[in-house]
Amino acid sequence: MTGRILPFAPLLSAKPDGPGVAVFLRGKRTAATAADETPLDPGEADRFRRLILPHLDCAYSFARFLCRDPSLAEDLVQDAFLRAFRGFRGFRGGDPRAWLFAIVRSSHLTWAERRREPDVDADAVLETTPSEALSPEAVLVQQGEVATVRGALESLPEPFRETLVLRELEELSYREIAQATGAPIGTVMSRLARARQMLLAVLPIEGLRP
């Protein structure tokens, strides 16, 4: 069991006040012994359905942009909601989405750890241009504005992609993004600026740039 918790240790230390991850850890630790845990009373379960469940679409959208795979996104969201439910006692108000996104993000991290993918190093990425930037052919193949914008977003390296998605698509505040991603606000701001810069390079704004 301890081995399964380890991937989250750095996250926790980076974000001592992050209720989402702390709660998630608790849910995680008890995941295999769910039977021992006293279930939420019916009132709390209803509150979860009322407060958290309506954010399914945005949780899925966030997961989808994180992993860029439709069926994996479903798995991640399903996993995240189960963990959110188990850890719901730890939800202390605030925007439920920031709390939920932190859990979705953790589910994705767990998956990435298990795939033994090297962690994306934000600082290293800063030195490079998007490695998966769309080729002109890929842009032609994609149809329509929505697909173009999604494709461009998905070409961004992960830290920039998640920050920009949380800001532009989910309209989270800097503070909420910091809470969801476990990054300091200054980092959120610099990632946002860099993400927009990279995106403007692959998505020229017609009429404003020759």
């Binding site: 399914l56 439910f85 929505v146």
Partner: protein
């Protein structure tokens, strides 16, 4: 034409509504006199509009909400009170027989409740377009897929040549725990094989049994419980059981 380097952070802050009143005013005043910054802000606003346009964010696929609601309902349900569930059966058997039969009856009641859950899970899996989480006939894909998702390793056995091709795997929730479900096909029928670690306790009655028109087969192997559920007939499911057991790793 580019933005003033020292104003870049302010432009993003202004765009995102994160500046306090004083900074916002100062920034707006600067924009009036600096065409470079004004153009940069215009680009950022246009980009922002494209990103937040309807349709860019994904929507959850139709079945996902129902599945998550099902998971949550299962979690929210209080764990079955086993003794109480068994009581009506026990008393109907007569007082004298009660003492002798109580243990057996309780086991049977548990098994009966479990079989109801198994059949319900099987039916749900065939109705809710959630037959498999990982869809493949390759056991080398299914086996690692379970790895890390559950705390045990179900044996994934290829049975295509015996007439039961592997369709994939799925996680399910049964008997208060997450279990592995291996999905096999038999002609046009589906066999759900649920697997989870055995709890210490009396051995459950051997299969095959018939429940609400579904065949149910049960066996134990290497500390794991196996429950196969299908709408194929009981004899065919027993053949499946034999084929599976015969190839199970020893």
């Amino acid at each position: 034409m580019t933005a003033c380097p020292d104003k870049e952070a302010l432009l993003h802050g202004l765009l995102d509504g994160e500046l306090d009143a004083a900074n916002a005013q100062a920034c707006e005043a600067h924009l009036k006199t600096c065409p470079g910054c004004a153009q940069a802000l215009g680009e950022l606003q246009a980009l922002s509009a494209r990103l937040s346009a309807p349709g860019v964010a994904y929507r959850a696929p139709p079945g996902l909400r129902a599945r998550i609601e099902g998971l949550i309902d299962a979690e929210a349900r209080p764990p079955p009170r086993r003794l109480r569930a068994a009581a009506p059966w026990a008393f109907s058997g007569g007082f004298a027989a009660l003492a002798a039969s109580l243990a057996v009856v309780m086991v049977q009641a548990n098994v009966s409740a479990l079989e109801d859950q198994l059949v319900a899970s099987h039916v749900r899996s065939t109705l809710a377009s959630h037959l498999v989480d990982v869809e493949t006939s390759d056991r080398h894909v299914v086996k690692p897929w379970f790895n890390g998702r559950i705390d045990f390793a179900p044996p994934v056995i290829e049975l295509a040549d015996a007439g039961y091709p592997l369709a994939g795997g799925r996680l399910d929730y049964l008997d208060d725990r997450v279990v592995a479900a291996l999905v096999y096909r038999r002609n046009r029928h589906v066999i759900n094989l649920f697997v989870w670690p055995s709890k210490p306790g009396p051995a459950l009655p051997p299969g095959p049994a018939l429940r609400s028109g579904y065949s149910v087969a049960h066996w134990r192997n290497h500390g794991l419980e196996f429950w196969a559920v299908s709408d194929i007939d009981a004899g065919d499911l027993e053949a499946f059981r034999r084929a599976f057991v015969a190839r199970a790793p020893t």
